[in-house]
């Protein structure tokens, strides 16, 4: 169903793309990230770039912003051929980006964060602090931010930091604004704000490249789409003329029948009973029960304290009060090792920092939480056992890699996530806690993760799913716990839950 790229989409105003990238290839040692890729962006339009994890989207962004230099390829901006060798070149050509990785300097002020790399200077070459602060405050006002230019960045919350990233992209007054998964850590309200800003930019005639794994967003905000697979251009077209299923087929190469393959499972005995769990600052009086075969969803706004509560349960930051019972027996958990012994597994939220040891291989990562199980006599690693287990888990989770010793940093986000989940499955847990397990991973992998969850639940595991994505929580859970301000605000049955009620409770309402 792909549209030949030379067919001009829509009316005359599209006539010439403001940016035309063609024949772009980029290789990394052992990986072809991009191969003959092309991309057109049009003034006043938003183009969505879709593709699986590792398809090469961010690589493309980094080429456009001068962080990587492509091996081959040409770039034409506004009819002029240009070469981009550094972010400065990109700015000069009117290209700016919000990158997938946070671009944050915690020890500097908001103003410096926004203008890093292009701070205004006086004639003597010294930084012009007056102009800097003035322009920052203007930008902050424009995006309706609630903090000021001189605030140190480390005092801001997660969402506020994202506003700073957006302000930085706007600070260049660019013709082309690229956003690489800008919504991954934003709440619904902030996403609305972002979309308002995008609409604003469009009306000013700027071209926007929007990358996201969330189709609802793509269909809300984009006018056009371009699809990538394994570094190749596999199609492009108008959003109005396509469907979600078409896009999925193009990017994954097959259709996904079910993103939320929740199965009916007989709920068993309580496996985990938590009572009155509190710590001094983040969460208080957390009480709930998890049964075998059950998927218990935890919903809340970012900052509701879900992660911290689970990390307390895991012994990462032991709680000050409360009891934990596993199979009706009290468990003493003071460190993650205790929790693992008790049968709890926790797939953390921040994959890069808390989950994966990216310079190590798949095999070693998978063994990390269950080294005792592959230890032979005298603590020696039983490599045969280990390799067999790696193959099994790898196949079960359909990990895509060249070999089992491949370093995690060479894998795409989705595959890294699968390895981290495999690491925890290797501990043979009774309780599996998944903290935002599908954040930033593509639809195919997401469906795979959901399928794994459903299978595991059917096998009798108790699963806790923390997610800030409402459809995911509602689609996968038997019951939904809603947290707000560090406390459990309400627990919904699958039957009684509606999106409106859940959101209202999560935002502090009392519906």
């Amino acid at each position: 169903m792909s549209i030949t790229p030379d067919v001009q989409p829509g009316g005359g105003e599209y006539a010439d793309p403001i940016l035309r990238l063609s024949g772009v290839s980029k290789r990394f040692p052992g990986v072809r990230a991009l191969e003959g890729m092309r991309l057109d962006l049009y003034a006043g339009h938003t183009t969505a770039l879709v593709g699986e994890n590792g398809a090469g989207k961010s690589t493309l962004v980094k080429i456009l912003t001068g962080i990587y230099t492509p091996d081959t390829g040409t770039l034409v901006v506004a009819g002029k051929e240009c070469e981009i060798h550094s972010p400065r070149d990109a700015w000069a050509d009117g290209i700016t980006a919000i990158h997938q990785e946070p671009v944050m300097f915690d020890d500097l002020s908001v103003a410096e964060n926004i203008f890093m790399g292009h701070m205004p200077v006086t004639r003597r070459g010294l930084i012009d602090w007056t102009t800097l602060v003035g322009r920052t405050n203007e930008l902050l006002h424009r995006i309706e931010a609630d903090f000021s230019a001189k605030t140190p960045l480390k005092r801001l919350g997660v969402a506020q930091k994202h506003m700073v990233e957006i302000a930085r992209a706007l600070s260049h007054d660019a013709r082309i604004v690229i956003m690489d998964e800008p919504t991954a850590a934003l709440s619904a309200r902030e996403i609305d704000d972002l979309f308002r800003i995008i609409a604003d930019l469009k009306s000013q005639g700027r071209a926007i490249l929007f990358i996201s794994h969330k189709f609802d967003e793509i269909f809300r905000v984009a006018d056009r789409w371009t699809c990538l697979r394994d570094g190749h251009h596999v199609g492009e077209g108008l959003i109005s003329e396509t469907t979600e299923d078409d896009l999925v087929k193009l990017m994954v190469g097959r259709s996904i029948d079910q993103v939320f393959p929740k199965r009916h499972v007989v709920i068993g005995e309580p496996v985990l009973q938590v009572e009155g769990l509190s710590n001094a600052t983040e969460y208080a009086d957390i009480s709930f029960t998890l049964h075998r075969g059950e998927i218990l969803g935890f919903y809340g706004l970012v900052g509701a304290g879900r992660s911290e509560a689970m990390q307390g349960l895991m012994g990462i930051s032991p709680p000050t009060q409360g009891t934990i019972r596993i199979n009706a027996k009290r468990a003493a958990i003071f460190a993650p090792a205790d929790a693992i012994d008790a049968g709890i597994a926790y797939v953390p939220e921040d994959r890069q920092i808390q989950g994966a040891v990216t310079p190590l291989g798949i095999r070693e990562n998978m063994s990390l939480a269950s080294l005792g199980k592959i230890a032979g006599k005298g603590g020696f690693v039983d490599t045969h056992k280990e390799l067999a287990r790696t193959r099994d888990l790898g196949a079960k989770l359909a990990v895509k890699a060249a070999h089992w010793d491949q370093k995690l940093m060479e894998l795409s986000g989705g595959n890294q996530q699968k390895v981290v989940i495999a690491k925890w499955l290797a501990t043979k847990p009774q309780i599996l806690i998944l903290d935002e397990p599908t954040k930033g991973i593509d639809i195919g992998s997401k469906a795979a993760v959901h399928a794994i969850m459903a299978d595991l639940a059917a096998e009798g595991l108790g699963i806790i799913l923390i997610s800030s994505e409402l459809p995911e929580v509602m689609g996968m859970s038997d019951r939904v716990v809603v947290m707000a301000e560090g406390r459990i605000a309400r627990v919904f049955d699958r039957a009684g839950a509606t999106p409106e009620k859940i959101v209202s409770i999560a935002t502090g309402g009392s519906a």
Binding site: T65, G66, I67, S86, P87, R88, W91, A97, H99, E101, P102, V103, M104, F105, D106, D107, L108, S109, E112, M116, G117, H118, M119, V121, G125, L126, I127, W129, D146, F147, K150, P152, K154, R155, L156, G157, A159, Q160, N279, A280, T281, E282, G303, S317
Partner: protein, 331 residues
């Protein structure tokens, strides 16, 4: 740019003052103006070297070759002045800075160009520079008899009651303050140290800055080399042996984070002064010479612990405050 001095620096300043007062109780001569000026003079070289080292540590690097650079440059300019007794001192100082800068540039190129870890590069050049002194001087020591009077006179000169060393250190300090707070380069240094990936995305080039900071550190070490040799009237392979650790200790006591991205000019100056006070007080308060090393070790540890603690607040509280700020802002 936030406030000029932080809480941590105030604590350190308070510690220094308290320490000086205590020493003064035992040995009143310590608190005389003359002695205070002497301590500052004696610490001047350390202040300069620590400030330069700070810029390197900010980029997540470290320069262990500074003392060797100081010694080599000192020897070279002493030899130069010996061979050409007519050279004016400003020229000697410029040559010292050029030689030191050149040696620093070698470090910078190895670190930035080849991506070898700074500690490895400078561990290597440290040995090389030290050995080079032995080679260029044929193993000989140069003493004041080999140096001209003009060469020896500068560090002793006084202007308006302040020693030339103090004035040089003051100028260097002001220079660094301007560099770190008022120029793009200075802010870029914080950026690359705080988050190298993000800095790259902002068009801040780490390699360029690395070349710059190692060259800068080398230049200051070179200048210090002349000052040191001229002040003590001696040059040989082992002068300022182990001084690199004192320089690094000054930075750390002054609140420069070994992990990069954090550190300030006032803090580093205070860190150097702290060590300067300790070094000058110990021989003076008549403690047994055998105790000096143990005491300075203990004092360094204590200062670092207190200093870390003064900054230390439970992580959780930071989050709560942030959250409160966020919540407050949303209404």
């Amino acid at each position: 740019m936030t406030s000029i001095v932080t809480r941590r620096e105030l604590v350190l300043a308070a510690i220094i003052v308290a320490m000086a007062l205590l020493i003064g109780l035992r040995t009143p001569v310590f608190l005389t103006l003359n002695n205070i000026l002497f301590v500052v003079t004696d610490t001047s070289v350390l202040i300069m070297m620590a400030l330069a080292q700070m810029t390197v540590i900010l980029t997540r690097g470290i320069d262990l070759s500074v003392a060797a650079n100081l010694a080599l440059t000192g020897m070279l300019v002493a030899l130069l002045s010996h061979a050409h007794p007519g050279l004016p001192i400003p020229i000697i100082m410029l040559v010292a800075m050029a030689i030191g800068g050149g040696l620093g540039l070698v470090n910078g190129l190895l670190v930035a160009g080849l991506g070898i870890p700074p500690i490895v590069v400078t561990l290597g050049t440290m040995s090389i520079y030290r050995g080079a002194i032995f080679v260029v001087a044929g193993g000989a020591w140069l003493t004041s008899k080999d140096m001209t009077d003009a060469f020896l006179a500068f560090p002793k000169a006084e202007f308006a009651g302040l020693s030339s060393l103090t004035l040089v250190a003051a100028a260097v300090t002001i220079g660094f303050f301007v560099l770190m707070t008022l120029t793009r380069t200075g802010r870029n240094l914080y950026a690359v140290g705080g988050n190298p990936v993000a800095a790259r995305y902002c068009g801040v080039s780490l390699p360029k800055l690395q070349v710059l900071v190692y060259t800068l550190t080398g230049t200051i070490s070179g200048l210090a080399g002349y000052l040191w040799v001229a002040r003590f009237g001696i040059a040989y392979a082992d002068i300022a042996a182990g001084y690199e650790l004192t320089v690094i200790a000054s930075c750390v006591i002054g609140g420069v984070s070994i992990a990069g991205g954090i550190g300030s000019v006032p803090g580093t100056v205070l860190g150097a002064l702290f060590l300067g006070v300790v070094a000058n007080a110990l021989p003076l308060i008549n403690v047994s010479p055998f105790w000096q090393m143990a005491i300075s070790g203990a004092v360094i540890l204590a200062a670092v612990i207190v200093n870390t603690r003064s900054e230390w607040r439970p992580r959780k509280l930071i989050l709560r405050e942030a959250r409160r700020a966020a919540a407050g802002g949303q209404k």
